[in-house]
């Protein structure tokens, strides 16, 4: 092998780089032939050059290569369509696209709303022709961009907080991420179960509930940040502030969705159904500070 590679190497070396550029099937300039021979790894380099050149020779015939490329692209398209169809069965991509249709103005306004919801007047999600407006046009619409970004930021911040206290190791990041993810999944499943049992006819899809549950990560990030900057007192102050703001936000947002289907005269009718729905909303709101505290207190010492 060594002897053969060395002998056949004379021919491509003699051609030089000019004819290499003229080869129509070659995608890139083959610059390995023009390397200085004084390289210490010169011999293995040359055998690689020979191998590269022989592979190019197989597709030298243009008809065969065109046919192969056409067939390959056809096959790729077909398999791409099939994969998309299968994925669409489990997770509707179009509905997911609605949640990520955000822009900077919306994100800024929504973050401000999450931290100070007390002056916001109109909490209803606006509709246009029977479908809800995208988050770009309506501040009240839930989105999944902020929760996912906040989740990742929370994991990074947890890593940084642990690193500052010299308690960091790479496994801790994974544990933190999976713990937070598991709590979110538990909360979403519990809320779905409660809504199913009480037969609430809302338009709250799973993704909506995921979005509303994910807004607590913003509170978590703020609490951890204040805890890192100002110590334990700062942490508790930020925790109290974000808990109150988040509870208010959740109650006002979900009240529209859960309780508004009962009757047209308003929410004051005290039948059992309505009370249970109120309890569900309050329980969801009260769960947020608990989980914020649970997931962040070990990061602040």
């Amino acid at each position: 092998m060594a002897h053969q590679g060395y002998r056949q190497n004379m021919k491509p070396r003699a051609r030089g780089p000019s004819t290499m550029a003229g080869d129509p099937n070659q995608l890139f300039e083959d610059t390995s032939a023009g390397m200085p021979p004084s390289q210490p790894g010169g011999y293995p380099n040359q055998s690689y050059d020979m191998g590269n050149f022989s592979v190019n020779n197989i597709f030298g015939d243009s008809v065969v290569s065109d046919l192969a490329m056409a067939y390959g692209s056809n096959l790729a398209n077909q398999s791409k369509e099939m994969v998309n169809k299968e994925i669409n069965r489990f997770m509707p991509i179009n509905k997911l696209k609605y949640f990520f249709a955000v822009d900077t103005k919306y994100v800024v306004k929504k973050l401000a709303l999450l931290m100070f919801p007390y002056t916001h007047q109109n909490w209803e999600v606006r509709y246009s022709r029977d479908s809800p407006l995208t988050p770009r046009c309506d501040v009240n619409a839930p989105d999944l961009y902020i929760p996912s970004m906040a989740f990742i930021t929370y994991i990074l911040l947890a890593g940084m907080a642990l690193g500052i206290q010299k308690r960091f190791s790479p496994e801790v990041l994974g544990m933190c991420a999976s713990t937070a993810l598991v709590w979110i999944i538990i909360e979403v499943l519990a809320l779905l179960l409660c809504l199913y049992l009480v037969t609430v006819h809302t338009d709250l899809t799973t993704f909506d509930i995921l979005a509303y549950s994910g807004y607590k990560y913003v509170g978590m990030i703020l609490s951890v940040l204040f805890g890192l900057l100002f110590g334990k007192d700062g942490y508790y102050v930020a925790l109290a502030w974000t808990s109150c703001a988040l509870m208010f936000f959740i109650v006002r947002s979900l009240r529209m969705k859960i309780l508004s289907t009962v009757s047209s005269e308003g929410m004051v009718s005290y039948n059992a159904k309505n009370q249970i729905r109120l309890y569900i909303t309050m329980a969801t709101a009260l769960f947020q500070p608990v989980i914020i505290y649970w997931l962040t207190f070990h990061l602040i010492r």
């Binding site: 999976s178 598991v182 709590w183 199913y196 009480v198 037969t199 159904k273």
Partner: protein
């Protein structure tokens, strides 16, 4: 608590197993949660109890066969990897 995704899967499998072993005749009918008791009138408010009874019945019907497969796989994996 530090949860891994595996503990979530374990908890889910245990819960579904727990629902699947509730026998229709021997147990649920005795405490008044049988399928024939639960389905009340077709009024506009099914009520929590009938929703629960329906949920238990549908979980048992749907998950009976997949649970066999999932349990076998879990047992084999736990025996192999501890």
């Amino acid at each position: 608590m530090a949860f891994t995704l595996y503990s979530l899967i374990q908890a889910a499998i245990l819960c579904v197993n727990a629902v699947a072993v509730l026998h229709e005749e021997r147990f649920l009918s005795k405490i008044g949660w049988g399928a024939d008791h639960g389905i009340g009138g077709f009024g506009d408010e099914p009520g929590i109890k009938s929703q629960l009874v329906n949920l238990i019945r549908s979980v048992r019907t749907v998950m009976r066969v997949p649970l066999i497969a999932v349990n076998s796989v879990t047992i084999v994996l736990l025996l192999l990897f501890g």
